[in-house]
């Protein structure tokens, strides 16, 4: 089990989305879906934390005792004003889980902080669009770098 998982377990005030109820029991809260609960082990983890970047991703893969694979992709923010999020899925095979990591588009995590239905001057709208485009590109590059590192570590091990 990773250090992060242990620290989450020990911090009763944590708002983290994992709850390790016993040695091998996991419960992952999900937005818009029931929590994913399973019995198993953590196979691999990777994190993209960089001090100069306001957010980071964490990827976890678990193997359940029923020989299924659980993937969790979490997005953390350094600012306490932003809410962390988690997405989790269960797969029949490790290959499917790895494919999901590859196909996941982090652009869906980019938060839009303006109302597009409000009337706006063309110049303002252009500026907002460029800003959104830059944020989307940065998120995709950031995530691509993490999964490149993750797959590389898996290959080496």
């Amino acid at each position: 089990m990773s250090t992060l998982m242990e620290s989450v377990t020990n911090d009763s005030n944590s708002t983290a989305n994992y709850t390790n109820t016993s040695a091998n029991n996991f419960r992952i809260k999900r937005v818009g879906a029931r929590p994913l609960t399973f019995h198993g082990i953590e196979l691999a983890t990777a994190m993209s934390f960089t001090p100069s970047i306001p957010y980071w991703y964490e990827i976890n893969i678990f193997r359940t005792t029923e020989h299924k694979f659980v993937l969790a992709i979490r997005l953390f923010f350094q600012s306490s004003e932003e809410e962390d999020s988690v997405k989790a899925w269960q797969f029949e095979s490790l290959t499917d889980a790895l494919e999901k990591i590859k196909s996941y588009d982090p652009a869906q995590d980019v938060r839009v902080d303006f109302d597009a239905e409000q009337p706006m001057a063309i110049a303002d709208l252009t500026a907002k669009a460029m800003f959104l485009h830059a944020k989307t590109s940065a998120a995709r590059s950031h995530y691509a770098s993490l999964i490149g590192e993750f797959f590389y570590s898996l290959e080496q091990s």
Binding site: P51, S52, I53, S141, E155
Partner: protein, 157 residues
């Protein structure tokens, strides 16, 4: 009669031919699984930004004769981005040019629009400096791939 630089490269090839054996090469690539093959490093080049390495460029020979290029752009911490890593098989000189263009820092990194004007401007300048360093090195890399590489390939086979 080869010039001194070419003669030096050739002598390195002669020495390494005896010592080097095919080994597993694992090339990390952003957004993808790593490229793995039995091969040998053929060429390595580094560029520096201030005191730190910023560009690592390597060429590898696969045991079936194919050439692979690998490039890492290390981003200064003030740019709020992770490093960028690219790898690709290079079947011909056109592919090499395309690969080098894909690695252009200006195509990989954008200044963070959420920063204030001064920081944004500073980031833009750093990216331009990186771009300049990279473009200076492209010529060296390209010359190496057209002159030194065929000789090294011949020696190793």
């Amino acid at each position: 009669m080869p010039n001194t630089k070419e003669a030096e490269s050739f002598s390195i090839s002669q020495e390494t031919r005896e010592e080097e054996v095919w080994r597993k090469i694992i090339l990390r690539c952003d957004g993808f699984k790593p490229i793995c093959f039995p091969g040998l490093p053929l060429f390595s080049h580094q560029a520096h930004y201030e005191k730190d390495d910023c560009v690592h460029f390597n060429l590898y020979l696969r045991d079936n004769g194919q050439i692979y290029a690998h490039c890492v752009i290390k981003v200064p911490s003030s740019l709020s981005a992770r490093s960028f890593t690219f790898g690709q098989q290079i079947p011909n000189q056109t592919s090499m040019q395309e690969f080098l263009s894909a690695c252009l820092p200006i195509n990989c990194i954008s200044p963070d629009p959420s920063r204030d004007v001064l920081k944004f401007d500073m980031q833009r300048k750093i990216i331009e400096q990186l771009q300049g360093i990279y473009c200076e090195k492209i010529e060296t890399i390209f010359c190496a791939s057209t002159t030194e590489l065929p000789r090294r390939k011949k020696c190793l086979h």
